[in-house]
């Protein structure tokens, strides 16, 4: 607890922006139009709409002096909130004398093919994880595919292919259809009849944008597991899946932004779906980020995140919870904590960054139903350069401490 308080205090101090970061010199001296007032701000688009938060910002700026830097920030926010959109700003004379009209034109981004590295990470005790893929668009349908070898998210290392598509039901529809197909070969740190050799998964889902920032995803997941021990057999883990997710960003004046991202996921496997496993897996997670500055690259940030989950019934090992990876209990090896995964998990993390220095504190517990819970703590310190973090993390405990070296992006 002391560690948690110290981390929070340190991160809060680090988050406080220095005077240069918030120093704001407007464009009154260099733009002659700064003497005019904004008459109206509008959006021209048949496919996109701005969020209520941005609309409120539009309303707030009407009647205020024209400032290019304020409009630049607004443009950045629109880009951040609406992916794959090309934003153009038009500034025109208003209808009233000495007033200015601003128009944001939103169009679909012309980018059609995108190669990307979805995963790149090295853990000194768990080795590499790597993923690369391609995204492309044909008319309204977004296709993606890629190769992946992951030794981080699940109990096993899984390597193979993933492909899928996402398409709106109709043009400008809030309802989208998605389909994912995966085929993985599993590698385990030990042998057990519970460990599958290969796994294939087909996942048809429907995504609905209920409200701005609030989305629901529902569908099915059909997993086919091939086991080798004690004799070759194939079993199915077919489930209904449903995820509710909420994301929202608030502008904290000129000083920074606050972002909330929260979600709840349920996977319910039943014999009704011809599943050999019957279980319900509940997962909840939330992340709150405070970032200084208005720019995309903030100077400092503090992220508080939590994860909790419970499994009722007998879930296959690949669907059980793990702690001790790139995002949780950094400093531990996940095989040391729960080599077969767990069916109860609670985790909390505080992650602070100031310029290129990053510090994390994690605490959490993983267990099986009816077994005693052990609360573990860990901490890490590292550097971030261009989104790649190099960190040394260690468990906080009385017995011997073996630091873990982590290197990767987006963790």
């Amino acid at each position: 607890m002391k560690c948690l308080c110290a981390t929070l205090l340190a991160s809060t101090v680090l988050l406080f922006p220095d005077s240069r970061a918030v120093a704001f010199q407007d464009s009154t001296q260099t733009n002659v139009n700064s003497r005019y007032k904004i008459e109206r701000i509008s959006v021209q688009s048949s496919a996109f709409a701005v969020t209520k938060s941005i609309q409120r910002e539009f309303d707030r700026l009407i009647g205020r002096p024209f400032r290019t830097e304020v409009l630049d920030e607004l443009e950045k926010r629109i880009r951040a909130e609406i992916p794959n959109v090309k934003v153009t700003r038009k500034v025109l004379k208003g209808q009233q004398k000495d007033q200015i009209a601003v128009q944001f034109v939103l169009e679909r981004s012309g980018k059609s093919v995108d190669f990307n590295t979805t995963r790149l990470a090295y853990h000194s005790q768990q080795n590499f994880s790597f993923g690369a893929g391609i995204d492309f668009k044909v008319k309204r349908v977004n296709f993606s595919g890629g190769l992946l070898t992951d030794n981080n998210e699940r109990v096993e290392r899984y390597s193979g292919l993933r492909a899928g598509f996402l398409t709106p039901l109709t043009k400008d529809s809030r309802v989208r259809l998605a389909f994912i197909a995966e085929s993985f070969r599993s590698q385990w740190h030990t042998q057990s009849p519970d460990f599958q050799r290969t796994r294939t998964n087909f996942e048809p889902t429907v995504l609905i944008d209920i409200l701005p920032g609030l989305k629901i995803r529902s569908g099915f997941t059909f997993n086919n597991l091939e086991f080798q021990l004690p004799a070759a057999r194939v079993q199915a883990a077919n489930a209904v899946t449903s995820t509710l997710r909420y994301s929202k960003q608030w502008q904290l004046g000129l000083a920074g932004t606050q972002t909330l991202d929260a979600g709840y996921n349920l996977r319910a496997a039943a014999t009704l779906l011809s599943s050999d496993f019957e279980y319900r897996r509940h997962t909840g997670e939330a992340r709150l980020t405070f970032a200084s500055g208005n720019s995309e690259k903030s100077r400092s940030a503090l992220t508080l995140s939590t994860l909790f989950g419970a499994i009722g019934g007998q879930a296959p090992v690949f669907d059980r919870f793990v702690l001790g990876n790139f995002n949780t209990l950094r400093g531990y090896n996940r095989f040391e904590i729960a080599p077969f995964g767990g069916d109860r998990v609670i985790h909390f993390s505080a992650d602070g960054r100031y310029r290129f220095v990053r510090a994390v504190y994690d605490t959490g517990t993983i267990s099986n139903s009816g077994r005693p819970k052990v609360l573990r703590h860990s901490a890490g310190l590292g550097f971030v350069v261009s989104g790649i973090t190099a960190m040394v993390a260690f468990p906080i405990r009385g017995s011997s401490i073996e630091p873990v070296f982590l290197l990767g992006m987006n963790f």
Binding site: R20, Q25, D26, S27, Q29, T30, N31, V32, N33, Y36, F66, T68, E69, D72, R89, K90, V91, L92, K93, K97, D98, I100
Partner: protein
């Protein structure tokens, strides 16, 4: 072919735009350039100006003896376009106090902006043989990326920054305008 002519030719070949006429003048023992026909407000920078944005232009005026630079003046100007009056406004930034405008003007027509900016660029006369053929070379660059507020740190200007800008090849995204004078001698220049 003289060295000055070779320089002029190589400069023309390097330049993405046609060289435009530049005339040297003497004013209070300072060398200045006059270019009444110079049009540097065009293309994307002009579009951005007409869209209410400020655009930063970096000017370099050099006195050349063949390929050798005898004197040089470097300045940064920030222009904006008055949407209601349909005229241009210009601000010259200080090199000693980077975020401070030193001179500014408003209500300029497009064709007089270059004259005003060039009028802010003076070079002391170098000690050189007054009968030696020399040329004046003007280069104007503007960044392809917009500077929201040229007075903020990323838009700050000092001599070292400008020297660095003009010592590297122009970025393809940057807009670059060049102008060159005919060969002249200092003795041929009359004080107006």
């Amino acid at each position: 072919m003289t060295a000055a002519a070779l320089t002029a030719l190589s400069f023309l070949l390097q330049s993405p735009t046609l060289a435009q006429a530049l005339t040297p003048r003497l004013s209070d023992n300072q060398l200045i350039a006059v270019a009444p026909a110079l049009k540097f407000l065009e293309g994307k920078p002009l579009e951005r100006l007409r869209n209410g944005q400020s655009v930063t232009f970096d000017f370099q005026l050099q006195l050349l003896d063949g390929t050798k630079s005898l004197a040089r003046s470097l300045q940064r100007f920030v222009l904006s376009y008055d949407l209601w009056e349909e005229t241009f406004s210009a601000v010259q930034l200080s090199q000693t106090s980077p975020r401070t405008p030193v001179f500014s003007t408003a209500r300029l027509k497009a064709e007089t902006v270059a004259t005003w900016c060039l009028g802010r660029m003076q070079m002391p006369l170098p000690t050189v043989d007054k009968t030696k053929p020399l040329t004046l070379q003007l280069e104007i660059r503007t960044s392809g990326t917009k500077l929201a507020n040229p007075l903020r740190p990323q838009g700050s200007v000092d001599l070292a920054v400008l020297v660095d800008i003009f010592s590297r090849p122009p970025d393809p995204k940057d807009s670059r305008i060049t102008a060159l004078s005919r060969s002249f001698t200092l003795s041929s220049l009359a004080t107006p």
